[in-house]
Symmetry: C2
Subunit: 224 residues, 2 copies
DNA sequence: CACTCATTCAAACGTATGTTTGAAACGGAC
DNA sequence: GTCCGTTTCAAACATACGTTTGAATGAGTG
């Protein structure tokens, strides 16, 4: 069995060739076929490695999938953090606008791939998969990839919305998350089924308009 | 194989005993374990019927699930329609407010069961399941259960929001749907994992506040 | 009773799955 | 060259699954 941490040895090579090839193929295949439809046989065949490699390197299929998901999330959240950096710099000492914050949260999710389909649609699908079938171990393993961004967003939105209570801000941020989760699930459907190209700019404008209004809503409804 | 429609015979007994017992058990089991985790062996064992009964009565597992989902959706949408009737009656000749329309859309989804958990959480899970794994035949079979309500909501929201274009109204209604879908997925999690009771009134107030602001948003952002 | 249809049943089918095993191949250390 | 831990490999394992089959049952009809 050996430790999860590879033996000291040549630590420079970030990962064994097989291990990184497996996780790369897993990400791509999950992207195109959906997590439920990918077997470890599919992955190992495509990656040109032995069937047993996945259990050897990751322990189980489930943990491989969790690592693939964590990788996507990290990529997305790194972009978001960078956009928040820019927004904060641009705002000088003041807090960035709700719209700027929303853009930092939303835009990275709209990136398109070479087919002009949503690049992270598979990430949304994997998330759905874990939401539907919650596994405490995996949730725990994923949490650190979400927390820093969430804390920062909470702080920034609270600053931009001083009239909204902190718990409300958190709750409303949850709705933005919901919208984006759903959005990506369906961006995938729309793209694959209809061959429609996605109009990122228009989507972004609509999403920011809807969400910023929601974030700013007066607590007791009746805005007009 | 015989037709799907049972032979004429005693049409008074709405469904054969086995058939209705199967669909009832299926609904309940999907509710508690999640659609992915329920096998036809689980269902038939629990219902006390033969393993082959599902394929005999429904043709396949997938079609049984679709029927169970359609049943839930019909129940929900009937309530929504009734609430819309009331809202329209109350508004007299004028169009009901955005808030009243949202309540009709949202409240039926918040009904709790005897454990004060969300009663339709399983419906959301089943929906998620079909979204993740779209099957044209099943989607087609589900459509009629959604369309009448959707058309009516579109018409009413457009009347209540004359300054928002029809395609925008439709798009925004989609976001409300997204929020509710996600909301129910997580209401289930919260309820089961934490044993927390759900505060329907508070949830409704928050949801309506967020969504009504979003529905009313000025198209080009920057509300203040 | 005899006929017929829908329904139920136990059993088997065929297959796809994630995982384990035990031996072989590799590669650096001494 | 030999040892030793790591990695790869082909093969088997152990089920779990949805579905099919063909005979048995049962009720309604003539």
């Amino acid at each position: 069995m050996s430790d999860n941490t590879k033996a000291a040895a040549s630590a420079t090579a970030a990962e064994s060739d097989t291990k990184s090839r497996i996780i790369g193929v897993a990400e791509r295949m999950i992207a195109t076929k959906g997590a439920e439809q990918v077997s470890i046989r599919d992955i190992t065949r495509e990656a040109g490695v032995n069937l047993a490699a996945i259990n050897y390197h990751f322990g189980s299929k489930e943990r491989l999938f969790a690592e693939a998901l964590a990788r996507s999330i990290t990529a997305i959240n790194t972009t978001r953090m960078a956009m928040l950096d820019k927004a904060e710099a641009k705002a000088g000492g003041r807090s960035p606008s709700v719209e700027a914050l929303l853009e930092a949260f939303i835009l990275p999710l709209l990136h398109t791939d070479e087919n002009e389909c949503n690049r992270y649609a598979h990430t949304a699908k994997m998330l759905s998969r874990f939401f539907l079938n919650p596994d405490e171990e995996i949730m725990h393993m994923l949490r650190p990839h979400f927390m820093p961004l969430k804390e920062r967003l909470l702080r920034l939105f609270s600053a931009a919305l001083p009239e909204v209570g902190k718990t409300d801000v958190e709750w409303r941020l949850g709705q933005v998350f919901a919208i984006m989760h759903h959005h990506m699930l369906f961006a995938d459907l729309r793209c694959k089924d209809l061959g429609k190209k996605l109009n990122v700019k228009k989507e972004l404008r609509r999403l920011v308009a809807f969400c910023s209004a929601g974030m700013r809503a007066t607590p007791d409804g009746e805005a007009h």
